[in-house]
């Protein structure tokens, strides 16, 4: 079985491009399934099921969906095997632009949205920079100039990746996307396989339930901002 991680900020068009490329993959006789990760709720499972695609959903609740993903990915892989899938695609929305579900040796896809503005590629962390394939959606509603500038910034943000435009509504570009997915390496097991980059250390007091504001309540991994005006005032 082949595993593929698809990541991208909320509403960029992940489900749309996955659906469009699944249509192509299923047409060539492959069995495709989805593991969908989100925080509070999702209706993506219905969209997949409507098209006859088996799906499991993981709701992370108070955890970061990407952390939750890594803790459960082996079980998802086992589920996929029980379903007799050829391809298992995980869909997750990084909430902080910093977490990334991408795993060594597993095809890593990042979906970005051309509507988000030309400087967005710079701001996204390992989720984009360490992906193998970057899919740009919503190119249909921005100008040709912005498409070119956006593509340029994607290339600077991740010069090693392949990148392509895919329209989540019309499916233009889905064929190329499907071809890349089909060529993903096989993932027989994940025990001991590593993430491409560590997730942020989320162990500040507020991570573990603190609600009171103020320095006396801040124990553990606390990081403080630097203020230029204070720094110069303190300098001798």
């Amino acid at each position: 079985m082949q595993l593929i991680t698809v990541a991208g900020s909320p509403s960029v068009g992940k489900t749309s491009v996955i659906l469009r490329s699944c249509e192509q993959l299923m047409r060539s006789g492959l069995r495709v399934g989805i593991a969908k990760f989100d925080s509070l709720s999702t209706s993506d499972d219905q969209l997949y099921r409507q098209r006859g695609i088996p799906v499991v959903t993981g709701l992370a609740g108070s955890l970061c969906p990407d952390h939750y993903f890594v803790s459960n990915v082996e079980e998802c892989l086992a589920w996929g095997r029980r379903q007799g899938l050829d391809l298992l695609i995980s869909e997750s929305a990084g909430l902080c632009n910093r977490c990334s579900p991408h795993i060594e040796g597993v095809l890593a896809v990042c979906v970005v949205d051309a509507l988000a503005g030309v400087h967005t590629p710079k701001k996204i962390g390992p989720m984009l920079r360490l992906a193998d394939l970057v899919v740009i959606t919503k190119g249909d509603i921005v100008s040709q100039v912005e498409r070119e500038v956006f593509a340029y910034h994607v290339r600077l943000a991740n010069p090693a990746a392949r990148a392509l435009f895919c329209n989540g509504i019309t499916g233009q570009g889905a064929l190329e996307l499907a071809a890349t997915l089909r060529a993903a390496p096989a993932t027989p097991q994940l025990e001991g396989v590593r993430l491409r980059f560590p997730m942020p250390a989320a162990v500040c007091p507020y991570c573990v339930g603190e609600t009171a504001i103020g320095e006396t309540h801040q124990r553990g991994n606390v990081k403080k901002m630097r203020f230029a005006d204070l720094a110069t005032a303190e300098a001798p």
Binding site: V118, R129, D140, I141, A151, F197
Partner: protein, 336 residues
């Protein structure tokens, strides 16, 4: 061993501004001494690396690929597409198209056919450089050869610039800033001057002049169209321009086509407008998902085009009179 590991970092930053941008983008302080790249990386603390979101090897790798990409972009600009060849597939009922169609730079080809007949599919086949792997089974060659994977998937080497009808600007920049931004990405030497040229051309294409200072979001439909056409002709990397209809309003279509063709591009226009369709050198007729015919514009059609243009000019004059508050009572003289 990496090509740049031992290069003094100051030298790298100086030769490749993109490296400095990258270091800033991952939130690391710009190094200010002459240590080699590898040594600078070694001295970064684990916390700095965690915040940056990349490991040492990944950063080194990234810098290397980045420089290679930027160099490739500069090379790519020189690579010329003289012609593309379309090898026929089949229509919706599986009937073979049996055709080999060569489109040359500097040529205007129109695509005509009823809505839903497969015009968009044809444009999509060209755009993705189909290799028998799309529903039509068509194949596309560049300069007579099967395109490399790099061509197919390299974003900046995209073959096709597509000017669609329903598009928006997301950025809020002045026209000058906007076009200059594009020129920077295209690595043109003097971005500001090139931008001025594009804007001047756009103003020649539209009846309603606009200033370089105006925000792109305030442009009218015609002005936007004119700006995008001038940009595609003079600044876009893509040797093929696909245009979905050029409306009559606000754009001088004759000049627009001259400008695009002068830029040594293959221009493909999907249109139902006789003034546009007959101005092309050839037109591709689509029926039932397949190419049913390729018609060369004949001498008789060119004659009729001249007549149609005269009618069009007469209508335009009347529109102008209306706009100026005049009465339209004089007998209209149609061309004979």
């Amino acid at each position: 061993m990496s090509r740049f590991a031992t290069t003094p970092i100051q030298q790298l930053l100086h030769s490749y501004p993109c490296v400095e941008e990258f270091i800033a983008a991952i939130g690391l302080a710009t190094p200010s001494d002459g240590r080699p790249l590898q040594e600078w990386l070694t001295r970064l603390s684990d916390e700095e690396l965690l915040d940056a979101g990349m490991e040492r090897g990944q950063i080194l790798n990234h810098v290397e690929r980045l420089i290679a990409e930027v160099e490739a972009m500069a090379d790519g600009a020189a690579e010329k597409v003289t012609h593309i060849t379309l090898l026929g597939g089949h229509d919706k009922s599986g009937r073979p198209e049996a055709l080999e169609l060569t489109l040359r730079a500097g040529e205007v080809v129109c695509v005509v056919g009823p809505t839903g007949s497969g015009k968009s599919r044809l444009l999509a086949d060209i755009e993705c450089l189909a290799q028998g792997d799309t529903p039509t089974g068509r194949r596309v060659l560049i300069n007579g050869e099967v395109p490399s994977d790099e061509r197919r998937y390299g974003l900046d080497r995209k073959l096709v610039a597509q000017l669609s009808q329903n598009m928006n600007f997301v950025v809020d920049l002045s026209v000058r800033e906007f076009i200059t931004m594009h020129a920077h990405c295209r690595q043109v030497g003097d971005a500001e001057t090139t931008a001025e040229q594009v804007i001047a051309y756009a103003n020649r294409l539209t009846g309603e002049q606009f200033s370089p200072e105006v925000s792109v979001t305030q442009l009218s439909g015609g002005q936007t169209r004119a700006l995008m056409i001038a940009d595609a002709a003079l600044l876009s990397a893509s040797p093929v321009v696909l245009i979905d209809e050029i409306e009559n309003a606000g754009v001088d279509r004759k000049r627009a086509l001259e400008l695009l063709v002068g830029g040594e591009k293959v221009v493909i226009i999907s249109t139902h407008d006789p003034l546009l369709a007959l101005r092309g050198d050839r037109r591709i007729v689509i029926r039932n998902g397949g190419i049913a015919a390729v018609l060369e514009t004949s001498a008789a059609e060119r004659y009729n085009l001249a007549q149609l243009e005269a009618v069009d000019a007469a209508v335009m004059t009347i529109r102008d009179q209306l706009r100026r508050g005049l009465r339209i009572e004089e007998a209209i003289r149609w061309p004979t």
